[in-house]
Amino acid sequence: MSWQWFHRLGSPRWFYHNSARWLAWLCPIAAAVVLGGLVWGLAIAPEDAKQGNSFRIIYLHVPASFLALAGYYIMAIAGAVGLIWKMKLSYMVMKSAAPIGAALTFIALFSGAIWGKPTWGTYWVWDARITSMLILLFLYLGVMALQYAYHSIDAASKAGAILGLVGTVNIPIIYKSVDWWYTLHQPATIKFTSAPSMHPDMFQPLLVMIVGFYLFYAVALILHTRSEILRRERKTSWVRELLNEKNQDVADKKVGKS
């Protein structure tokens, strides 16, 4: 098997140039899907018979939780690829995925707390689902902290990748926690094995929001990785050339104005 395509993908310069083209169409699609899903879910979908309008927070809570979990695998796999193939770009993706995942985990916890007050009667309990989700936030924060704990980028990347791999065990625990233990949190509405226990009028906008969040995640990860590439490759000739071009453009505009 030829691994050439794989090594080409690992070139930061190649990624930086091509990702600009991907973003050009990915950004508007992501924005359109998220906006469409929000309007559909918050304004058009029917309210819930029992919970009334407060159930609508599901349109933020569930997509954020989905991506908080999926994003952890993306971070851990990027770290593993970095460990095995010593691929610089892969480590940059891992470092970029950490704060995005942490933010999504925080959104999931925070929106869950806001949802919990009017339905359960409390913002927070230490049940298995909520506690394991809090551990996920700490894992993300741990990977972020390790990036700044070493002088050498290589050592920081390796340490972060290993913590990322160790933490993967938490993802199935979060997912199955509501089945393995008695929890305050209800079991999953969207299941792999059977139809969702939700009316189609309510489920369709949720599906749109989940797709929208995946697209948004891709945009955020690419943008963050691009800035990380520029930061780490700032001493290379191609970044210097890029910077000179930008400066030249700015200078030209100034001349044109005056």
């Binding site: 460990l83 009017p118 339905t119 791999l165 065990v169």
Partner: protein, 168 residues
């Protein structure tokens, strides 16, 4: 694959497998200790510790909710289908608290096996239904029951639970 990379891949797999085994063993040791609440059966049978602060969870039994006229005192029963546990509480109940829905009560069980609760939480299920659909299902259920007229009420018990789950 380059032998060095293969070696590193094996190391990565080893890290994941080893942590999974370690954490798996810890969780296996924890088992029921990871539960958020006890069932009424566990409390009545004496499996749950007595005289200490604990949580009990179950469905609120239909028709068991009693309120005091002059205070916020309430009494109701929760069930897991095996045993019923009486709960007493003074305070405001969550909005979603109703008979036929799940609730979690925290407090201590007294010598009469009554849970003196200091906090009541409502536990909602994973089903979401628009009000019109829930109403239509409820009506269909009532028509069906009138037609059968209690003939096979046992058979309907399971269905009734479903309808109650989906309507207020």
């Amino acid at each position: 694959m380059h032998p060095l990379r293969k070696q590193r891949l094996q190391l990565v797999i080893l890290i994941v497998v080893a942590t999974t085994i370690v954490v798996g063993l810890v969780l296996y040791m924890l088992r029921e200790n990871g539960n958020f609440f006890y069932t009424p059966e566990q409390i009545i049978s004496g499996e749950a510790p007595q005289g200490v602060y604990l949580r009990a969870g179950g469905m609120v039994v239909d028709g068991s909710l009693k309120r005091a006229d002059d205070s916020l005192w309430v009494q109701f029963q929760i069930t897991d289908g095996v045993e019923n546990l009486t709960v007493e509480h003074t305070g405001i109940l969550p909005d979603l608290f109703t008979e036929g829905e799940a609730a979690i009560a925290s407090g201590t069980v007294d010598e009469n096996l009554v849970l003196q609760a200091t906090e009541i939480l409502a536990k909602h299920d994973e089903n979401y239904t628009p009000p019109e659909v829930a109403e239509a299902m409820n009506e269909a259920y009532q028509r069906k029951q009138e037609a059968l007229d209690g003939e096979s009420s046992k058979e309907l018990a399971g269905e009734k639970k479903y309808y109650l789950d989906n309507t207020k």
